[in-house]
Symmetry: C2
């Protein structure tokens, strides 16, 4: 592999190079070449995924957890994924500014991602950004996602450990469970534990978990209470993450293999589509769309024609 | 096109055939043939998309709106999309049972979809289910989605008109705006209008909208207040939907073309991937995943090799 200033800078841990590299993988086809150069230097960072409904206090938990990890002598990269509306582009920045305690710490790199235009979607952009931080030598990478859609589930379930954050409040418990994130939690965090209803949330989760039959060896997701603003419970959270990391070494290898397989499938799908677009005659796609819109052709037949022009068989 | 009992039944508006047809397109490759037969009979129904955070009262609004549409002499098909956790599989059913007023009405067909396994994802399954209801002669199809992820945004923005529902309560306004659904709203509905904070939600939306410069001809999303349990504001909502439908006839044609183009791209991507899977030598994909996991090969190079084996160039 050839070298270049950006990948050299990333491998040296230079913050400016890291920032430029993430912009590249986020926006540019050149990202593929960069990932090719960085990839041999990845696979070392421990990736923590954090998700939960808006307003439960994820950012503050990540902030306090980062402080605990730093005290343990480890460096941290943070990716805050927020498919923010153009109307409120400032919200993420606001969240990040709150993490100002770490802004002057060389051992912490913080980046918000709000990409909608990325070819492979947020999941691809985030996976590449994790690789950049991993290559830069960060010991721990935290990926925080707002919202509870399929993209967010994919991102967080690809981490080495997945934290699901809940908080007492109207509908918050139902919300988390409805969104299908109960299954991906390795650790549950009930934040705002000083508020009324926190114990109810804990009980609801525990009751849901008890419906699952689990083998003797299986990890049983603990349910931890935190008060992020005061830092209460965050040390215990880090201990639990460390316990999961040690206990789940085998599972982690399997999980990483699954992660790579998922990434390859996603990339394969993107690349095939790009090739198909290039292989089509000018206007061919538009003509088929017109025919389908006019109900002269059904979509499955239309796609059969497109595929036959592209795939060797 | 040949006929068969299921497609004949759907075209005759038979509820049992509709239910079987939706199960087919949801679960089975046979769905493609069925869609091929039904497709020439589609394009007539008016599709209303409804989304918003959990707990804002979407189901009740859909229930009341259905009653208003029925009184106008139109038939209604309802698809409630809920990527529900296996833990809480009963929640959707509970929601639906609440709509019992329509359960004995032949002019209303109600179906919940909670598909995670569908090849093309929820968006494909939902699009096909809409086609089935359209072909069955339903005048209006309402698609209600829980959650605010990219899947939900895709589903709702593909409708002829998109309703975004909000309600006063901790974080609900921020929540909607953060999730990037402000842009897809043709009509905003502030439900639970009798509660404290409803006017604040209205003001927040209105302020956000005023940031958008809009042309003289452009539709300016109205912000309506409703109290779904009492039905207050639902007549006005239906009037607004009808007004949008009439005013936006040109835009609607363009939107439907975009919808078909999106569907073709999605199907093309799926089909290419399926062909690729079939074209690969046994174990080839697994070997590449192993090499990537071991950091012997980067993912982009691995995918290049896969693509070269599949695409004629």
């Amino acid at each position: 592999m050839t070298s270049d200033p950006i990948s050299d800078g990333v491998l040296a841990g230079d913050a400016r190079a890291i920032a430029r590299a993430i912009s590249l993988v986020e926006n540019d086809a050149a990202g593929a070449a960069l990932i090719g150069r960085l990839f041999p230097h990845t696979g070392r960072a421990y990736v923590i995924g954090v998700t939960g409904a808006p307003g439960v206090g994820k950012s503050t938990i990540v902030d306090r957890l980062t402080a605990v990890i730093r005290r343990a002598g480890l460096s941290v990269g943070i990716i805050a994924v927020d498919p923010t509306s153009p109307f409120t582009g400032g919200a993420v920045l606001g969240d990040r500014v709150r993490m100002s305690g770490h802004a002057v710490d060389d051992g912490v790199f913080i980046r918000s991602m709000a990409t909608r235009g990325h070819l492979g979607g947020l999941a691809s952009a985030t996976a590449d950004a994790i690789l950049v931080l991993d290559a830069s030598g960060k010991d721990v990478v935290i990926v925080e996602t707002v919202g509870v859609g399929q993209d967010e589930v994919d991102i967080v379930s690809a981490a080495d450990v997945s934290l699901v954050v809940l908080a007492p409040g109207a509908g918050d418990d139902v919300q988390a469970m409805k969104a299908g994130i109960m299954e991906i939690a390795d650790i549950f965090v009930v934040n705002k534990a000083d508020r009324d209803g926190a114990d109810h949330v804990v009980q609801t989760i525990t009751a849901s978990l008890s419906l699952k039959t689990s083998g003797a060896d299986e990890w049983r997701p603990p349910v931890l209470k935190t008060e992020a603003p005061t830092g209460a419970g965050i040390d215990a959270l880090w201990e639990e993450i460390s316990r999961y990391r040690q206990r789940a070494a085998d599972a982690r290898a399997g999980r990483r293999r699954t992660r790579e397989a998922t990434r390859l499938r996603r990339l394969l799908s993107q690349q095939l589509f790009l090739r198909a677009e290039r292989a089509l005659a000018p206007g061919e796609f538009d003509r088929l769309v017109d025919a389908v819109t006019a109900r002269e052709l059904d979509p499955y037949t239309a796609v059969d024609r497109l595929v036959r022009g592209v795939v060797s068989s």
